[in-house]
């Protein structure tokens, strides 16, 4: 409400209740504002990329389909592309087990033991 050029506004301050809680830091002032954001928890260690191949000729490349809708068809087209454009590359098309959100450690072991030289995972999103 404005009267004679002066504003009257509502007092936004809470009323005293006689109820007392606890502060984590007794030295901070009652009107100080707490940061509402949670704390980061990262304890990760950096991971290096694996060494690359000199060339793909004669190599075995796994095409791992991740499970998002359309990714099987996409990776199948990629397999066809290799067959047509780089026939010396052997491709193996595999489904990742479970859903797009789950890991498949069994497949990674299988790839290493069966002589995979490289892998392409796709397609996310």
């Amino acid at each position: 409400m404005e009267q004679n050029g002066r504003l009257t506004v509502l007092d936004p301050h809470g009323q005293p209740t006689g109820i007392f809680g606890r502060r984590l830091d007794a030295r901070s002032k009652p009107g100080d504002i707490l940061d509402p954001f949670a704390q980061p928890t990262s304890d990760l260690k950096p991971a290096s990329l694996a060494p690359r191949l000199d060339a793909l000729d004669g190599k075995t490349v796994y095409l791992v389909e991740t499970g998002f809708a359309g990714s099987f068809e996409f990776m199948t087209e990629m397999q066809d592309w290799f067959a047509k454009n780089m026939p010396s590359v052997k491709t193996v098309l595999r489904h990742k087990r479970g859903t797009m959100f789950s890991d498949d450690p069994q497949l990674w072991v299988e790839m290493k033991s069966s002589g995979a030289d490289a892998a392409i995972l796709g397609v996310g999103g």
Binding site: R22, L34, D35, F37, A38, G70
Partner: protein, 462 residues
């Protein structure tokens, strides 16, 4: 390979993990595209680099690893300060809004004194860690304490009496907005004595904004998700359309007093005198439901969803009518509904556009594998397990209506472990919105005296 729409998302995520994987980006979308279009993608260019896509893929496998890729640096997020830098109330409020720490609606600033008062709502130490939350499976988790939860409770407009329920939700460590392009909605249901101690609305219009406890508890979950789960639209939160249930998460208390069935928390192994919060997750809510179990089965059979669960939210009159139909328990009704909601297999597979069920069928996961083998006109029960069908009773018996959702029950958590030993901390004069009128004599809400308005007199004959 990741579609170009999510390039910044995966690059940011990888760097936060101390990795520099080599991504290549075909155009978006991939889902639903014909093989010819996908072939064009592969024979075409990465839209972000304008380089031929397959040339980029082959380069990613053959170009030597750089020093930066050998020794990537982790971009660590700094520890958060406990307090914000002092400023005017107006500027601090602006800071909350502009930093994306709110849901866009007005908040109460979490001052030291307000948070200290809020902490009177529990005996737990302010620095006790309640949990860790994240909105994507890959993202870095954030940790939060009792004090952080109390700060959020203040922001949401809660009072100390609400804090044990909000802490129990926080203890589930589940976000109200899991990041999915499919836009999740969520529901939070309270059972047990605390519903009445804090005057939650379990009756008339319980799902509408007429009750402080229902409103602030549901809202606090999303404010926690924003601040504890680091939800940022387009950065960490990728829902294409979003979901307006995210504002309040369908928060209500089950109407145990009017229900003829056992309360939901008893179904989950808790006792009747325990107070429990249960959370659900899904996408779809269909509000107009009317009729007997046969109609519930019919609606369920036509209710498309990527999931296999259905949760009915029913008025107590519906519970009574189900009992009158001969169902002794919720489970009896759910079992019958499952058996009577079969659809032709062909119809089911036509509705599975996400490819999720098809993929499980290809891997031999039952019952999807069997459904993929039967004829298109063979009847199958897409919601095949009574355990995946839930019935929750709420409402004021003004109409025997029910709501159909495709919500999955995900978790329950005890509220009582967060209660103070001296009991729920209510204000000397608890803050209450008007309670829903529950009229027993037909006269409720009618003023005792009304001014008499004289009927207009007909004009005198000329």
């Amino acid at each position: 390979m990741v579609t170009a729409r999510f390039a910044d998302f995966v690059e940011r995520d990888a760097r936060a993990r101390g990795m520099r994987p080599r991504f290549s980006y075909p155009p978006y979308p991939v889902m639903g595209m014909s093989r010819a279009v996908l072939r064009e993608y592969i024979e075409g260019h990465d839209p972000l680099t304008a380089r031929p896509l397959m040339e980029e893929v082959i380069g990613a496998l053959t170009q030597p690893v750089t020093e930066e890729e050998k020794h990537p640096k982790i971009v660590r997020k700094p520890r958060r300060p406990r307090l914000l830098a002092p400023d005017s109330g107006e500027n601090i409020y602006r800071q909350f809004v502009e930093n994306g720490w709110t849901d866009g609606l007005p908040i109460v600033l979490p001052t030291e004194d307000r948070v200290a008062e809020m902490l009177a709502g529990t005996d737990h130490a302010p620095d006790e860690i309640v949990g860790r939350m994240l909105i994507t499976p890959q993202q870095e988790k954030f940790e939060y304490t009792v004090e952080k939860v109390a700060a959020i409770a203040v922001m949401a407009g809660a009072r100390p009496e609400h804090l044990p329920v909000i802490l129990a939700i926080a203890a589930t460590q589940e976000p109200s907005m899991p990041s999915s392009t499919t836009s999740w909605g969520r529901m939070v249901v309270v059972n047990g004595p605390i519903r009445n101690e804090i005057d939650m609305n379990c009756g008339t219009a319980a799902l509408s904004p007429f009750n402080l406890a229902n409103s602030v508890i549901g809202r606090a979950w999303t404010l926690m998700t924003i601040n504890f789960g680091d939800a940022r639209a387009g950065e960490t939160f990728m829902a294409s359309l979003g979901h307006n249930l995210n504002y309040n998460n369908m928060c209500f208390g089950e109407n145990e007093e009017q229900s003829v069935f056992e309360p939901f928390h008893l179904q989950k192994g808790f006792s009747a005198d325990e107070s429990v919060v249960s959370v659900f997750r899904g996408w779809n809510v269909l509000n107009f439901g009317l009729g007997p179990a046969k109609e519930m089965a019919h609606v369920m059979s036509t209710f498309g969803s990527m999931g296999s669960s259905v949760t009915f939210v029913v008025d107590p009159l519906v519970a009574k009518s189900l009992r009158a139909e001969g169902f002794e328990t919720k489970r009896d009704a759910c079992k019958w509904i499952v058996e009577n909601s079969k659809v032709p297999a062909g119809h089911y597979w036509e509705g599975q556009q996400s490819g999720f069920a098809k993929r499980l069928a290809e891997q031999g996961v039952e019952p999807f594998a069997s459904w993929a083998k039967v004829r298109n006109d063979a009847l199958i029960a897409p919601r095949h397990s009574p355990d995946d069908i839930n019935i929750l009773v709420v409402g004021g018996e003004t109409n025997p209506m029910w709501i159909t959702t495709d919500f999955t029950y995900t978790r329950s958590a005890s509220i009582d472990q967060w209660r103070p030993k001296c009991g729920i901390r209510r204000d000397a004069k608890p803050l209450r919105m008007p309670a829903a009128v529950s009229c027993k004599d037909g006269l409720c809400g009618i003023p005792e005296s009304t001014s008499v308005i004289e009927p207009e007199r007909a004009p005198a004959d000329a």
